[in-house]
Symmetry: C2
Subunit: 404 residues, 2 copies
Amino acid sequence: MFKINENYLKLPGSYLFSTIGKKVKEFTEANPDKKIIRLGIGDVTLPLAPAVIDALHSAVDDMAKKETFKGYAPDLGYEFLRSAIAENDFKSRGVTIAIDEIFVSDGAKSDSSNIQEIFDANCKIAVCDPVYPVYVDSNVMAGRTGEYIADTGKWTNVIYMPCIKENNFAPELPKEQPDIIYLCFPNNPTGSTITKDALQKWVDYANQVGAVIIYDAAYEAYISEENVPHTIYECDGAKTCAIEIRSYSKNAGFTGTRLGFTVVPKDLKCGDVMLNSLWARRHGTKFNGAPYIMQAAGASIYTAEGKKQTMDQIAYYMNNAKVIREGLQAAGYSVSGGVNAPYIWLETPKGMTSWEFFDYLLNKANVVGTPGSGFGPSGEGYFRLTSFGTYESTLEAIERINKL
Amino acid sequence: MFKINENYLKLPGSYLFSTIGKKVKEFTEANPDKKIIRLGIGDVTLPLAPAVIDALHSAVDDMAKKETFKGYAPDLGYEFLRSAIAENDFKSRGVTIAIDEIFVSDGAKSDSSNIQEIFDANCKIAVCDPVYPVYVDSNVMAGRTGEYIADTGKWTNVIYMPCIKENNFAPELPKEQPDIIYLCFPNNPTGSTITKDALQKWVDYANQVGAVIIYDAAYEAYISEENVPHTIYECDGAKTCAIEIRSYSKNAGFTGTRLGFTVVPKDLKCGDVMLNSLWARRHGTKFNGAPYIMQAAGASIYTAEGKKQTMDQIAYYMNNAKVIREGLQAAGYSVSGGVNAPYIWLETPKGMTSWEFFDYLLNKANVVGTPGSGFGPSGEGYFRLTSFGTYESTLEAIERINKL
């Protein structure tokens, strides 16, 4: 008699954004006349850039002709894309990454949830609190997290690193020693970043205790300040302790197009075994490559036009971030993020919990945000707004909130 | 100190097709004047059908405009595609599948390797021998297979069901009771099929002993004979014991385009728990949907033009299969498959092992095939040729082989 993976049953409730979706659906059905503004889920709204569209059409044409048709892609991704990544994302920042250290995928969500597979079932993970739910949930499914304690909102076998106002939303080195440390900067959900010197301390710590850092840099393109690292490999020694995950979802609007990549340096080893070889084996066995059409689109972002057009999109969203941040500050809210990230993190007013504030905003201003507590216990009392709406709707949302 | 998933180190050698790729590369470099004909890997060569190309261009245009731009896709896939699947792949065969039993993905390789995650780590798997390597390898990575015995080419904790000439390449019910049974019909690599009555026996057996059948129907479109089931749900009771995996790779040439789907019926339960809910949770947590552009392309296959054009492609490949099958038979080879499947399975001549015959064909005829032993110990002494080449090269390959 077959049995199921009981770890799945430990997951409380459904995935955060599904719950929000259901609540919004219920409200919309009950109030068909209200115009909802969605600043909740981190989904983009601008269409793909013209350079990307041209590359997509051109790649589709390639698929129409026998001479240029592409079947299975190379396991790690097309060399034309991996070369562009090595050159533009790393070499331009003084970092040398070989193209066989780059693994092209269908996006950062897949990679950040699958990467745990190459580690032992008994590895102990440390996460920021609040945190993007996928890191923890994927480890729950793999049985690494112990039991969920509903009262505290915590798993018994996870090391939580609170990121709260008191520490400027930057995690401190954990007292208990972890095996795998998930870091995300610019951070989702808080929008915070840390300096290169601060990140260097994490790299030194990981190398010292023999931990691996899973570094999620999906929001790298939004960095506007000088002293904030764009890749963890800007830090000395990162190649012996860090895996970096990148996405095209937010820097080029690929949320529905699906493309990303992960860097696993060959210097990152457990004894004699290169993690690069393990991840290569996983890619070759359990994945069949990102579509040629999407990889061609990804490469177009690195052309002169592609760079300019996607930078314009980022500037558009960051202007929204400014509208939200400054608007809420002017109305007396305590706000952080939104300077190097598309997320604004605010303290809920009047002693409301995160979900109370969610319902309050939905009902009174018809604005959808994300409850901070959905990202972990230390997110309670906070709320996330994203800058991925249109300028007009962002402006209107802030006006509505400020009238409450 | 972090540790790796030691199960990865148990995997012998590298992935079959990587090994073949390396051997061919070495031969080509040593013999740059020889024209290699590749009938090894199951990759298609015909360009995408015009209806698919039109749908791709049109979907790209949707992504270029604010009004029609698509961000994150629904977790399970767009309803337009799932409705077309339910209607054309199932209802047309008298089978009712609800659209929330259909999960759109980036392809059958991902699904067939990921599906084991929702089962307990101690479930025992049964596989055909020979078998598509992904079923076993993904379970090796998950720690379900015990140890690899190099002498026998078998894992200590896997139930092997030999598919050999003596049983007409159809597995017999296993003596030892499995929890999860992988079946693939039309079969990769042998090209064999079983009748509806024979498949019904498997369904009855699975329901009786409480096993789940993972039914890989990736080659369903190649079925030409009447009494061969196109979906396992044609059998009574399959909804309480079977998951079906489908692919667009071979019926529409999507090997480099990436789209597939998996059916998990809501009647398939372990106690009170629906496997449909577990797979939905995995989809929502560890995958972010197939690209809108690809889902639109997938839907185009179900239009009148799309059906006609993809059927023409299948007819083209099946004519190649006929060329291979009849050509080799005429030359005295013992051949099976190629009637309901794009694969031809032949006995290696002159007492050669599968890899000896691989080297022999590569060196003497410059033709690449796949050694049967790469698919499992009972594949020793057999060899797979695929019909996915061009007509001209297929003809030439058979001429060359017959001159040996």
